[in-house]
């Protein structure tokens, strides 16, 4: 059971992670095909005549024009992709087959507003060929006729895609004359020709990149998130391994007597050793198989959560196929079997290397262990120290982080028995004041320290994981919440609806901006223009702001002296913390940004906190922006009301004005934005919470199996107690209380470990992966929840042995020897 759970966690997390990664790669491949190069011209797009030139003048056959954007249909966000269904060589959607053999397919090319869908997408949207669907693209509605359905060798790749002919796609997306990019499959010779040709074109925005570069850039975006997941899966390995170890140790320890008898009967050491290992292997195989199955099931659930997070944070990922990677299964199986055998070999070695008679006496074992405990404790401390030291080392990679975490855990495990003994011995000093029952309870634990210590260590570790993760999430949430409070300085925000992964949203209608300015009760309005620009670090969001009102909005981390004045004078820009961290940018460095008149350097005046994306954000003053970009559009208005104006009244007035415009405009109060942001935040960490719950389940299983084994073993002791007059109720009470005490102790010990863990998690995962700095807080709720969980889990685990032992008939239990 323990093995099964351990393996299943490893497998589930790993599968979810690798599935998400594959989904991601697949999505990329569907969009870029098998091209090895891509021609882009930044967010403005490429003139389609360039595509014709490539084919006509250079004879480049393997070129594919691409136009796509996100649209929504019946609440689903989908990608509308323009394809050239006529030019065969340029299509690389492999393995597709139309199931609709229908002459209306001709409509696909000839008629506007027609599309073909994959079978799965059609099922998802509940449309049949010939039917129409209403598609919303940036708040503009289009009636699209589905003229065909296709199946594909790889159905996952086309889920969530709406295929239109290039003509229809351009018309629907309002991209006449424009392409997003051109995908090219080039031979080295063609590449050289193209490069020379491009240098002769007067088109500074045009850039030729390899598909690898392109994919890497996108992959980098979600790397932090996957790092996070990988860390979780490593943590799962750790917890799983310990659980398995715990389980096996018990199963061997429990049968020391039987083993001793066998030794006495003349079975050789080697035979016993291999017997135990073989048995362990059998158990391991069974447990692993069960674990793999369970892991497969759990992984599917996890994947849904992972994709949800990816969609919230990065981009729409349509693929939701559950890929069962044999590598993940193998990894789980390997850990399962290896740890099982390793775990069994330690007690097996011990059992075969003591005198046969000794093996049969537990007292001897406890004695030997007791004498070693201080040594183990010191070793443990040393390991903890080493682990912490490693984690503090600058530029810790994930694996180093994991290694130091392992050291920490191992060290901690070694410390547990001694610590327990110490605490209990302090408690026992109170003996005169304690009832006999209390003394029995305490003694019971110390006497079986070889098992109880292990059980408590396992429980403490599992609880510590929940504490560590809990602290991390809570710290992050508090940080983000306070950042939101500082950033959302305006009262009301007005912006255009819709988000686009690739291109720039149109601005707010200028008449609306003028109308809002006329409204009474407004103290000030700040405007900003959001767009994506090409820099030497790739596509990064740029925010051009005015600050009629002194902007409180920026929460500055570092800045040059007098940065506010310099910023207003257009002497430079501000960048976000993750961008500075990832790109190793410092104050006064310059960033090259593609402007319509070519590449220009901009000096970094300051670095501000930002948690909206791990990809980076830049801010410049509106004046500087308009000097370089011929663009007067406004994306967002942040409105400050006068103190005597009711927010609700103003909100209503602005909404009324906005409703006169056909384009969808979002008018929200800062409070609403704050709430919405935190909802997304919580959703993002759902997966983390689920893993936390899993860790608790593991802890519960661990304590259950450990305690059950322990209490079962003490049958004779219990029988003796009964024989000398303890009632059934008293015995039950004793066992349960003992369990709960162990749970409580484990919970207490878990707290410092959990704090240390959270430290490493925050340091390694969040700061290093996302580039976000975080206030570390130690929420009380996480702590007492942990204590409650460990105590109650332990209490529950005690119930079965308590009933069983109390109901046992005394005589046979005593007679056994």
């Amino acid at each position: 059971m323990g093995i099964m759970l351990g393996v299943s966690i490893i497998v589930a997390v790993d599968l979810a992670n690798s599935s998400a990664q594959r989904a991601f790669t697949l999505s990329l491949n569907t969009l870029t095909g098998h091209a090895n190069h891509q021609l882009t011209a930044g967010p403005q797009g490429i003139n389609e005549s360039l595509y014709a030139q490539l084919r006509l003048e250079l004879g480049l056959q393997n070129t594919r024009a691409s136009v796509s954007d996100q649209v929504s249909v019946a609440g689903h966000t989908l990608t509308l992709l323009g394809i050239d269904a006529i030019t065969g060589n340029s299509q690389r959607l492999q393995g597709f087959q139309m199931t609709t053999d229908n002459s209306s397919l001709l409509d696909f090319i000839l008629s506007p507003n027609t599309a073909i869908l994959s079978e799965r997408t059609a099922r998802m949207l509940k449309v049949m060929p010939g039917q129409s669907l209403t598609l919303n693209h940036r708040s503009k509605l289009h009636q699209i006729k589905v003229v065909g359905i296709f199946t594909s060798d790889n159905p996952a790749a086309s889920v969530g895609l709406i295929f239109c002919d290039m003509a229809s796609a351009q018309e629907i997306l309002g991209r006449l004359g424009q392409l997003d990019h051109i995908n090219l499959t080039l031979t080295p010779g063609q590449l050289a020709v193209l490069k020379t040709w491009l240098t002769k074109q007067d088109h500074p925005q045009l850039k030729l990149i390899t598909s690898q570069q392109k994919n890497d850039a996108i992959k980098k975006m979600s790397k932090a998130f996957h790092t996070n997941l990988t860390a979780m899966s490593l943590l799962a390995v750790l917890v799983g391994a310990l659980l398995i170890y715990n389980c096996m140790t018990f199963s061997v320890l429990q049968r020391r007597r039987t083993l001793g008898i066998l030794r006495n009967l003349g079975v050789s050491k080697t035979e016993i050793f291999s017997l135990i290992l073989f048995e362990a292997l059998c158990l391991g195989v069974l447990g692993t198989l069960g674990g793999l199955l369970l892991g497969l099931l759990m992984g599917q659930g996890l994947l849904r959560l992972v994709l949800q997070t990816v969609n919230d944070l990065y981009f729409i990922l349509h693929v939701s196929e559950y890929f069962i990677s044999s590598w993940s299964l193998l990894k789980g199986a390997a850990v399962g079997l290896l740890v099982t055998v390793m775990a069994a070999s330690i007690p097996a070695w011990e059992a075969t290397h003591t005198q046969p008679i000794g093996v049969m006496q537990r007292a001897l074992l406890e004695k030997s262990i007791n004498s070693n405990l201080p040594k183990l404790f010191l070793m443990g401390l040393a390991l903890i120290g080493l682990g912490l030291l490693l984690a503090k080392y600058p530029d810790v990679t994930l694996w180093q982080g994991f290694f130091s975490l392992s050291l920490l855990v191992l060290g901690f495990t070694l410390c547990v028995p001694q610590t327990v003994l110490w605490i209990l011995s302090r408690l026992l000093l109170l003996t005169p004041y304690l009832t006999n029952m209390a003394r029995l309870i305490l003694r019971g634990i110390t006497a079986g320290i070889s098992r109880t210590g292990l059980a408590m260590a396992a429980l403490a570790l599992a609880i510590a994981v929940t504490i560590g993760v809990g602290i991390m999430v809570e710290s992050f949430r508090v940080t983000v919440a306070s950042w939101l409070d500082q950033t959302l300085s305006g009262d009301i925000y007005v912006s255009t609806a819709g988000r686009s992964s690739r291109r720039n949203n149109p601005g707010l209608p200028s008449s609306l901006v003028a109308d809002i300015q006329q409204l009474p009760g407004i103290a000030a309005i700040n405007t900003s223009r959001m767009l994506k620009v090409e820099t030497q670090f790739g596509l990064i969001r740029l925010m051009a702001i005015t600050s009629a009102h002194e902007p409180k909005g920026f929460n500055i981390k570092h800045s040059v002296t007098d940065f506010r004045r310099k910023f207003k004078q257009g002497k430079g820009i501000l960048i976000s913390e993750p961008m500075a961290y990832h790109q190793k940018i410092q104050l006064n460095d310059s960033i090259k940004i593609q402007t319509p008149s070519g590449e220009k350097p901009f000096i970094v005046l300051g670095i501000f906190y930002d948690y909206t994306s791990s990809q980076g954000l830049m801010a410049m003053h509106r004046n500087l922006y308009e000097q370089n970009w011929p663009d007067t559009q406004i994306s967002v208005l942040s409105i400050y009301r006068q103190h005597d104006t009711e927010q609700a009244t103003l909100l209503k007035a602005i909404r009324e004005l906005a409703s006169h415009h056909p384009m969808a405009i979002v008018v929200r109060s800062s409070k609403e934005i704050r709430q919405a942001s935190l909802i997304i935040f919580d959703r993002t960490f759902t997966i983390t919470q689920v893993l936390r719950l899993l860790a608790i389940a593991v802890a519960f299983m661990g304590i259950l199996s450990a305690l059950m084994a322990l209490q079962m073993e003490r049958k004779k002791e219990f029988a003796t107690l009964r024989a000398i007059g303890m009632t059934q109720g008293e015995l039950r009470f004793m066992i349960i209380a003992q369990s709960m005490l162990m749970g409580l102790l484990a919970g207490l010990m878990a707290i410092p470990l959990g704090m240390l863990m959270s430290n490493i998690l925050i340091e390694v995962i969040n700061v290093r992966s996302f580039g976000w700095s975080m206030q570390q807080i130690y929420p009380f709720s996480v702590m007492w929840q942990a204590l409650l969980i460990s105590t109650s889990a332990a209490g529950l685990a005690g119930i079965y042995p308590a009933i069983k032992s109390a109901n046992a008939v005394i005589a046979p239990a005593l007679r056994e020897e």
Binding site: A52, G95, L110, A167, L176
Partner: protein, 381 residues
Amino acid sequence: MIDKFKHCQRPIVTLLLILASTACSPPPPVSHLLVSDILGNNANQEFRQVLEKRALVFPKDHGPHPEYKNEWWYLTGNVHDENGRQFGYQVTFFRIALTAGTANPIAHQSAWRTQQVWMAHFAITDIKKQHHVHGQRIVRQALNLAGASTEPVKIWLENWQLIGQKDSQHGFPWQLSVQDEQMSVNFSLASHKPVVLQGDEGLSQKSPAFGNASYYYSLSRLQTQGRLNIGEHSYQVTGTSWLDREWGSSQLSDNQVGWDWFSIQLHDHQELMYYQLRTKDGQAHPSSQGKWINQTGMTQSIRPSDIQLTPLAWWTAEDGKKFPIKWRLKYPSNNSDWVIEAQVADQYMTTLVRYWEGTVTIVDAHTGQTLGVGYLEMTGY
């Protein structure tokens, strides 16, 4: 020559099917379609029909006729280098209208929107190496990617182009420039013989039904010279080519399954064109016909009763189709008794529509003397 795309509705569906399943490594499912399936007879009446004879005017009729459903410029030829190394080549431009008339333009219409699709086939046969290479391109008539114009004559599909000279009736010499990944030709073509009007003064009736016809003319002896590249090698070549021009909206009838088309250029500067339409039961259809062209360009019509065609040897393609690659042609009134044989057995075009098209030699059946070269096209097998 007979068009391969008489009925357009189906081929384009087919086109879509294939394109949607592009780059399938196994042959696309549609390739199993018989040519006759594609060339049905349910003509779209909105297209202009070929109903009556009309005078062909040049250079105008070298250019496109978009009001008809389909049209092609079909070049085949035999060339050799100074060492006598021989090659066959084929370059064909097909224009296919997806629908008749002009669609109502919509506001904000994309430049990609079109009703005309172009397809081109290119093949070279290396006789010494017994090797046949071919390629295909399909492009919409949009963004200037493909099209045809009259003055000067220009037919192009991306950088595959046939361009005439300005300010003359036929614009000779024409420049043919076609490059594919593995091969290219850069030829100059000029005719020393007048235009041959096929059928009845250019109206070629393919079956008795009214409108099942095309306008059809040929340039039966185009002097050809230029450069031919195949693989790593480049050859300076000369030889003769044949141009077939046809346009129409519907041709084959229901019981016609395909045809065998011969274009023969004899060493004595005479030519013969003959196509045999085959019915479902394998018989020659009475609408089969041809032309004999003498040295001065005078022509004489050939009816099925004038000629005897017998297959002598067959070649089986990978997909199981069998093609007769050796024929006996008897034309008694002209004292001709020839053996026509493919110079390479596998000259199978595994393009969107599959057919056999290749260079042949003509040998006197009695003396064994080589009389000339030619091209053979076989469909519907």
